[in-house]
Symmetry: C2
DNA sequence: TCGTTTACTTGAGTGCATCAAGGATCAGTG
DNA sequence: CACTGATCCTTGATGCACTCAAGTAAACGA
């Protein structure tokens, strides 16, 4: 997403702050991915392969169509970051796993995406707890 | 954005809460747009036309290429939500403005996108102020 | 007036996303 | 075992977002 999610005319300071946070977060995520020549979607999928898993599991977790995952994984495979091995227990299924290079790129991405880390780092430990509690409450 | 922006392995509760917030926010934005048969980008542009303005101004504010705005505006125009009038002061430029129907749809979108409102609404006024202050501090 | 800059559009190319349809395999039942 | 139906994934088609390169038209400045 290049275009921001908002603002609708914000009626309160808190809403505006939420929007700013989301906007900056999304842009930072996109920028970190771009540094490694990945799309946000590719970085997202790569980041969820700490263990090998099936396409369907990815699609469900990410809330999108399986065919979408197929395409993204095909591109990651073409980049040499991921493999699709047959699943010995179920020959319909395929297990997606990061290659060593995929591990490296994923690690570099985690390093490049400093936004959440540094944002939280600006707060004292007590403030971090406060923020967590407030966000959890706001999320309902 | 259908796929979420994260998580990279989160190292703190606060980071995880931030991620959850961003994810839920983005999905809610997308869902509200979809209710009105708009893409997130279309809803975004439509929401920034409280006054008529040029394509270039939109592109700069949204941080994307002018040709991207052209396409989105063309589609909004085809939907009857927006007009592109010539700018009498500068015949290179065109002023984009919402039509009455565009106003209506935009208002309905603002109503449908309840996430920020309801999230903030779960907090007391003091908590809202706290949250605002914490987010502002975290944003640096 | 002439060259440069500005504002926007067009065209090509890539990727994300969804839907519809299909092939292969699995699993349960008769 | 053979069927039937569900499951896992891929393929194909389509639309939108996004970017870059190139082009048109108008404004601006020397």
């Amino acid at each position: 997403m290049a275009l921001p999610s908002g603002p609708v005319t914000t009626s309160s300071e808190a809403e505006a702050a939420l929007f700013d946070l989301v906007d900056v977060y999304d842009r930072a995520y996109e920028a970190a991915a771009a540094e490694l020549s990945l799309s946000p979607a590719q970085a997202c999928v790569l980041g969820r392969l700490d263990e090998r898993r099936g396409m369907g599991a990815l699609a469900e977790e990410l809330g999108c169509d399986a065919s979408n995952i197929t395409q993204i994984v095909v591109r990651l495979e073409a980049l040499g970051l991921v493999t699709r091995e047959p699943n010995p227990r179920d020959r319909r299924a395929r297990l997606v796993a990061r290659t060593p290079r995929g591990d490296e790129i994923n690690h570099r991405f985690a390093t490049a995406f400093t936004f959440a880390r540094t944002a939280v780092g600006r707060l004292s430990p007590e403030e971090q707890d406060q923020l967590t509690a407030l966000l959890r409450k706001a999320l309902g």
